[in-house]
Amino acid sequence: MTTMVSVKDVTKVYKRGAEELKVLDALNLEVPEGEFVALMGPSGSGKTTLLNLIAGIDRPTSGAVVVGGKDIAVLSEGDLAKWRSRSVGFIFQFYNLIPVLSALENVELPLLLTSLGKKERRERALTALKVVGLADRSSHYPRQLSGGQEQRVAIARAVVTDPQVLVADEPTGDLDAKSAEEILNLMESLNRDFKKTIVMVTHDPRAAERAHVQRHLEKGVLLLGEEKHR
């Protein structure tokens, strides 16, 4: 199986004044194409930092992050932004939809960076909303949607550009049990039916159980012998 995400000897150090805080320490991780990986661990273990590095929204202090065969750690800011728009879909814990845009417009937003015409953008956004089962809510604004619906719109926004990798930071962290179940079903479906590689950070053991593989982090290192396969 081809490797989709390869994190090689990555160290991430944050500087707070004179103090240095090592969040990731020579970490290595391989995620095969089409895999659904859950990253678990206590707060401050470096899960979100690792996720940010894979999503190309942060850079490692040392080491390499290769996604889809491209070392994204060496890309310029502009190239990295372009890469993000094409290759990765990000799902946030608090959905982070733009409140002044309708569901359809929120999903259409990443497509503004493509060369597609308005009509084609609308069609693709509507298709993505159909995939998450919210085509009938396309004209609704975020304030008119429930938390679960908002997260589904956010997932539609993440997949609308057909990225290789989906990264999710606590996607069920702000949802009730029923909505969380729906979101996890949707993510499973995206992985199974659309062959999306998913890396998900979660504290929730029930969410982690839906992943194929669970990896545990503690103090910036992946724990050996903690890899769980479903």
């Binding site: 940010n52 999503a55 372009k82 993000r84 982070n96």
Partner: protein, 412 residues
């Protein structure tokens, strides 16, 4: 252009704040355009003055006249080429029956229609008009005017306004008591029209009516004095010296004089235009600076409120330049809307003022007959609004440009 709806949606997010910012910007541009238009008109009027023309008036006030005997004494001052008596008549058309005298003849009962007020001056024509070569009069009309005691020379703009033709007769009643007569208003006959090449002599007044000084003097049956003496000198460089020499002649008399250049006289006549310019420009600058701060504050608040969204946009793949462009675009749109509204408001007010019965005539009476929003002033106002918007958006846009995704999302 595909990003425009996105920017517009953000502007509508807090419509109260957006509207108040646009209105504040509009008020700023309205004030700037209106004040600039007034100044521009004043400048234009002053520019029409000639360096070799002086004006001698009573040192106390323009409401006091100088003795007629001063004419020959001024003429004797070295450097003086010509002297002409003038009075500002302050006449307007009687309201009761245009074209006919107020038959009551009584001051108490005579009514004046101030909406038909315009600038009219009695002059010593043979001495006065040679000093103003920029005024063009057809020779036959000039001759007719000189030979007609009741003759009136009408500026082209004024003639157009009242539709006067050669030979038309009308009556004027002055609101200044010494120029009123018991037998009723003065009757005038249109003897000629004067015009000026405004491209060559911009700001030249073509809204005044001139008539013979002696006609009023004879009409009231007594000496009426001289409002101002128009003095032509041989050399413009000697204006100060000649002016001092004239004033020195009357230093110890009961009617001391002030002699100044025509430009200085006009400036003092319209409420010390030098200080007026400083005041109006100062007000304009202060207002513009205040609006810059208001708009910058609005944009900063808008960007601060949207920190998370900025992080999300960057996560989705929008570059820092894109995000900066959105913020600058919003600020520019505020400027464009405010500028357009301000220019429109100023245009509306100036149109109203220059066309409102009564107001327009009073403005014409002090030489501001061409008050309008000129394209250059409108363009300047709009440009300032856009620049204000740009500058107001620049600092928050730079903050949005520099913001790191991880820093923003960590603080959510």
């Amino acid at each position: 252009m595909k990003y425009l709806p996105f920017v517009l949606k953000h502007l509508r997010r807090n419509w109260v704040r957006t509207t108040s910012t646009v209105v504040a910007m509009a008020v700023c541009i309205f004030l700037l355009c209106t004040l600039r238009s007034v100044l521009s008109e004043v400048d234009s009027m002053l520019a029409a003055s000639k360096a070799t023309r002086l004006v001698t008036r009573h040192s106390v006030s323009l409401t006091f006249n100088l003795p007629v005997a001063y004419e020959s004494r001024i003429q004797s001052v070295p450097g003086v080429k010509g002297v002409a008596k003038t009075i500002w008549f302050g006449g307007s058309l009687p309201a009761k029956k245009e074209g006919q005298a107020d038959e009551t003849g009584s001051e108490g009962e005579a009514t004046t229609d101030w909406s038909k007020f315009f600038n009219n001056m009695g002059v010593d024509a043979d001495n006065f008009f040679p000093m103003y070569p920029e005024l063009t009069i057809p020779p036959d009309q000039w001759q007719s005017f000189r030979e007609t005691r009741q003759g009136a020379l009408i500026g082209s703009k004024l003639a157009k306004k009242f539709g006067w033709k050669l030979g038309d007769r009308f009556f004027l009643e002055s609101f200044i008591p010494p120029y009123r007569r018991s037998s009723g208003p003065f009757e005038f006959v249109v003897s000629g029209f004067y015009d000026a090449d405004l491209a060559k002599y911009p700001g030249t007044d073509v809204s005044t009516m001139y008539f013979h000084y002696d006609y009023v003097k004879e009409g009231v049956g007594r000496e009426i004095g001289v409002g101002t003496y128009a003095v032509e000198i041989a050399n413009g460089d000697q204006a100060a010296t000649v002016g001092k020499s004239i004033d020195a002649l009357f230093e110890n008399s009961s009617a001391t004089s002030i002699t100044e250049t025509e430009q200085a006289f006009k400036a003092s006549f319209i409420a010390m235009a030098g200080n007026l310019a400083l005041l109006l420009n100062g007000i304009g600058l202060a207002v513009a600076f205040t609006i810059l701060l208001v708009t910058a504050n609005t944009m900063s608040m808008a960007v601060r409120e949207r920190r998370t969204e900025i992080g999300v946009l960057k996560t989705l793949g929008f570059s820092s330049a894109h995000v900066m462009g959105f913020v600058v675009g919003e600020a520019l749109l505020l400027g464009v809307l405010g500028g357009a509204l301000g220019v429109f408001g100023s245009q509306t007010l100036l149109y109203f003022v220059s066309h409102a019965p009564g107001v327009a005539e009073i403005l014409a009476g002090i030489g501001l007959s061409g008050l309008e929003l000129k394209p250059a002033v409108a363009t300047l106002g709009f440009f300032i609004a856009v620049v204000l918007g740009l500058f107001a958006g620049l600092v928050p846009a730079l903050a949005a440009y520099r913001a790191k995704i991880t820093d923003i999302l960590r603080t959510v």
